[in-house]
Amino acid sequence: MSCSPEHTSIDLSKLKLLNSGGDLAEYRAKLQGDKNPDRKIVSVCTGTGCKAYKCDSLAEALRDEVCKAGLEEKVEIVATGCHGFCERGALMVIYPEEILYQKVKSENAADIVAKTLAKGEVIEELLFVDPVSGKKCTKENDIPFYKHQQQELMHGGRMLDPRKIDDYIARDGYSALVKVLGEMKGDEVIDQITKSGLRGRGGGGFPTGVKWRTCKDAPGEQRYVICNADEGDPGAYMDRSLLEGNPHLIIEGMIIGAFAIGSSQGYVYVRNEYPLAVSNLTTALEQARAMGLLGKSILGSDFSFDIKVVRGGGAFVCGESTALMASLEGYVGEPRAKHIHTVEQGLYDQPSNLNNVETWANVPLIINKGVDWFTGIGTGDVSKNPWGGSKGTKIFSLVGKVNNTGLVEVPMGATLRQIIFDIGGGIRDGKKFKGVQTGGPSGGCLPEKFLDQPVDFDELTKAGSMMGSGGMIVMDEDTCMVDFARYFLNFLRDESCGKCTTCREGLKRMWELTNDICEGRGTQKHIEKLESLAKVVMDGSLCALGQTAANPVLSTLKYYREEYEGHIERGECIGRVCKPLISFHITAECNGCNLCALNCPYDAISGEKKKGDTYKIDQDKCTKCRICYQSCKFDAIDIRTGTQG
C-alpha cells in the first residue's frame, strides 16, 4: 500500500450524530475496540513552541517511515498539544516505554522508526541531559522537569490530537457531560463545584461555584457563559497551550457550566495572536456541533447551548472582565464601573459568568474524579468556606534565567523553591538567584527569603505579590530591579486603556521617575514620589489594571530598596544593566585574541595582539552594546559600576 500523508481535516458530515449518553458510550467503545491495544503511541508535540522547530514535518516523516516499515498496526503517531518543555522542542514521547526524545528533527525519523520503534533500541543522542547532574534521562519521568510535576490538566492534551474529536472521546471525553445531563440537576453541579474549592485561575481567585450561584440566581432573560482566553501577561502561555492542545476539555467545561447556570449562549474571547488556538478551537466546536454535543438538544436532551469564538485585537486590558464584555459587544475595550457585578449585569446587561480557560478546564475533571479527589490536592480547608484554601493544580509558565523553562503543572501549595529549583533546575550558568516575578504586571517580585513560600492564592498575596494567572519570571544576579520595574511600567502605560487620569498619567509619570533613576538622574525625592504616586494610581483607578499596576514598583521598593538607593547615591547598578551607570573595561586576563576588537561595531577597541593588558576600550566611542563582553572567551571584560567605574 502507498504511504500518503494523513488527512488532517475531518469531513464533518461523516461524524456520527449522538442522541444520548448511551450513544456516546457505544461510540467510545467502538473507537477503543478499533485499535490494537498493544500498539505503541508516539506522542509528537505540535504546540506552538515545537512548531517553531518544525514538528509538523517531523510527525509527517514519522508517519511516512512507520508506513514504509509496515508498522501501522503496531504504532500510532499522534500529533498532540503542548508537552510543556518548549525549550527542548521538537519533543516526542514513545509509550508505553515513556522514552522521551528532545530536539528531534525530521531527519531523525528514519532512525527512530528503525531502531526504537522496530527494535526497542534507545537513541542516545536524542535523550535529555540534565544540565544540573549531567545525567542522561531515558524516560520522561527521569527528567526532573517532569518528575516533580503533577500534570492533571495538561496530561490529556499530551495524549491526543486536538483536531480529532475521536481522540478526546476515546479518552473518556464528554463523559462528565453525560454524567451531568443524565444524573444531576444544575444546583447539584454548582454545589459540587463550590465544595471542590475551585477558584478562578485568571488570578482573581474568586470561588467558581459562588460565582455560578450568583449568576444563576440573578434576574435576566438570557444568561451568558464566557471563557476568557485573552491571556496577555508577558511570558505567560498557559491558557494558549490548553486551548491549542485540548480544546474539547474547555468546551466540555463550558457546556457543564452553562447547564448548571441555565445559559444557552457561550463565548470564547481569544486573542487573535493565538492563531493555532483559534484554529483548533474552531475545529473542535464544529466537530462537537456535528456530533450533537453542542447546539440544539445536546445528546438528545432538552438542553441547548452553543459557543461562539470572538477574536480579540490584542489589547491587554481586554482580559479585564468588563473591558472584555465591552469588546464582545463591539465597543472599544474599556472597563466599566462594576458597582453592579457582571455576574448580575454583564454582557448586554444580562447575567454573565466569565471564567478563565484553566478554570473551565478543571470542571470536567472535578465532575469525573469527584470533589474529594480535587480537595485532596492543594492547601487549606474549603469544606466550610470556599475562600478557605486553594485546591487542585495550577499551571505555571516558568521562564527567565532557569535551566529548564516551559509550562509546569504543580499542586497548589508547591513552594517557589520546588518550582524553580526542583523542576526548573535552578539558575542558569551557575549564577545566583535574585528574585521571581509572579502574577505578571499586576504581581510583584519576591527575593530569596520567600523561596519556601507555598504558591497559592493567599500566601503570595501576604508576601506582597500574587499568584495571578501563572506567569513566573525568574531573575538572576544580572538583573537590575529598577530596570525591571521600569519594564513593567512601560508595558502598562502602553496597555492601559487610558481612561482614568490616575492610570494613564500616573503610570507615565512613574515610568519617567524610574527612567530618571536608571539613567542616573534620580534623587531621594524620586523614591518618595514613586511611593506617593503609587497610592494615587492604585486607589484612584477604576479597574484591576490600574489598581494593581504599581505592584512591581512597590514590591521592588520593599525588597530591593538598596538597589534604588545604589542608583541614586552611588550611581551604581549592581545588576550591571543601566547603561548610563556602567562602563566596560578589559582586564589583565586578556589573551590578546583580538576577537572583541573585531566584533565591536563602533571600533572602540584597539590593542596589540598579545597577552596582557594591551587592549583598551575607548569610552567615548563605546555604546555599551555588550558584544565584546559576550564574545570574550577569557572573561577578560569587566563591567564596572558606581564607585568602581
Binding site: 502602553d494 487610558g498 487620569t501 484612584g540
Partner: protein, 254 residues
C-alpha cells in the same frame, strides 16, 4: 426616594441616581471635571473621589470610588472630604496640571488643593481626555464626529484619521462642554472654524438682523431632527423670539 447619608446628613435621593449629582443638588460640593448632567457619567478624570461604605456579603466595606458613576443605593454612607480623599484628589490634580497647565479650571482646583504645579515635567497638552466632547456629540447631538484614538499614554481625541470629519456639523457643542476650553471656535463673517477638528463650516446669517445663526450643516441637521419651520430655522434666537411674539400678537393670543 430613599435615604442615604452624606457627610453625616441624611438625604433623600432617587435610587440609581448619580451620587455626585445628588450631592451637588444638596449643596455639597465635590470637585469634578468630566461630569456633565446631560450625558452618562464616564468617570475619567477621577477627581470626584469619595468614600462609600456599603454592605457586601453581610460585611460593611468602605472604599474610595468616583461619585459621578456611583449609583445611589439603599443604606450607603458617603464621606466627601477626608484626609485620604484630599490626598488622592491632590495626586490627581498634580497629574492633571502637569498635563494641562493652561486650563483655567484645573489651575483653580490646583490652587484650592495647594497642589505643586511643578510636581512633574509639564507636557503642555490642553485636553484632559475627559471624553465630554465625544459624548455630547454622540449622545446629545446624535452625530458621532469624534472619538478616542489609541490607548494608554498615547490616547487622544479626534476625528477619523485626524481629517475633516464628514459627520461634523460645526454645532460647537463640543466646545461648549469642554472643561478645559481647549476646543477653539473661530467665527468670521461667513465661516466657522474648529481648528482642533480641522473643520471649516459655512455660517448662515440671520435673514433679519444679519447675526450668525448656525452653520449650514447644523441647520440641515436640525431640519432632520427638529420639527421647525424653514422660515424660523434660518433666523437667530433673538429675531426668532420677536417673530413668534409678533405672530402671537397678530393671532390675538396676547
Amino acid at each position: 426616594m430613599i435615604d442615604i447619608v452624606i457627610d453625616g446628613k441624611t438625604i433623600q435621593a432617587e435610587q440609581g441616581a448619580s451620587l455626585l449629582q445628588t450631592a451637588l443638588d444638596n449643596g455639597i460640593d465635590i470637585p469634578h471635571l468630566c461630569y456633565h448632567p446631560a450625558v452618562e457619567a464616564y468617570g475619567a478624570c477621577r477627581l470626584c473621589l469619595v468614600e462609600v461604605t456599603a454592605e457586601s456579603h453581610g460585611r460593611k466595606k468602605t472604599k474610595l470610588t468616583t461619585s459621578c458613576n456611583y449609583p445611589v443605593l439603599p443604606g450607603i454612607e458617603v464621606v466627601t472630604d477626608s484626609e485620604n480623599i484630599r490626598e488622592n484628589r491632590k495626586g490627581v490634580l498634580e497629574l492633571l496640571i502637569a498635563r494641562a497647565p493652561k486650563a483655567k479650571r484645573v489651575r483653580e482646583l490646583a490652587a484650592e488643593y495647594g497642589v505643586d504645579a511643578q510636581a512633574y515635567p509639564v507636557s503642555g497638552e490642553e485636553c484632559i481626555l475627559c471624553g465630554l466632547c465625544i459624548q455630547v456629540c454622540k449622545d446629545v447631538m446624535g452625530v458621532e464626529a469624534l472619538g478616542f484614538i489609541g490607548r494608554g499614554d498615547k490616547k487622544d481625541v479626534g476625528t477619523p484619521f485626524d481629517d475633516l470629519s464628514k459627520e461634523c456639523i460645526g454645532c460647537a457643542s463640543c466646545a461648549s462642554v469642554c472643561p478645559t476650553q481647549c476646543i477653539e471656535v473661530i467665527d468670521t463673517a461667513d465661516t466657522r472654524e474648529l481648528p482642533r477638528w480641522r473643520a471649516i463650516h459655512k455660517l448662515v446669517r440671520c435673514r433679519i438682523c444679519g447675526k450668525a445663526v448656525a452653520t449650514e450643516k447644523h441647520l440641515a441637521h436640525l431640519k432632520k431632527t427638529v420639527n421647525m419651520d424653514e422660515d424660523v430655522r434660518s433666523v437667530c434666537p433673538t429675531c426668532r423670539r420677536e417673530f413668534y411674539a409678533k405672530q402671537a400678537m397678530a393671532e390675538g393670543h396676547m
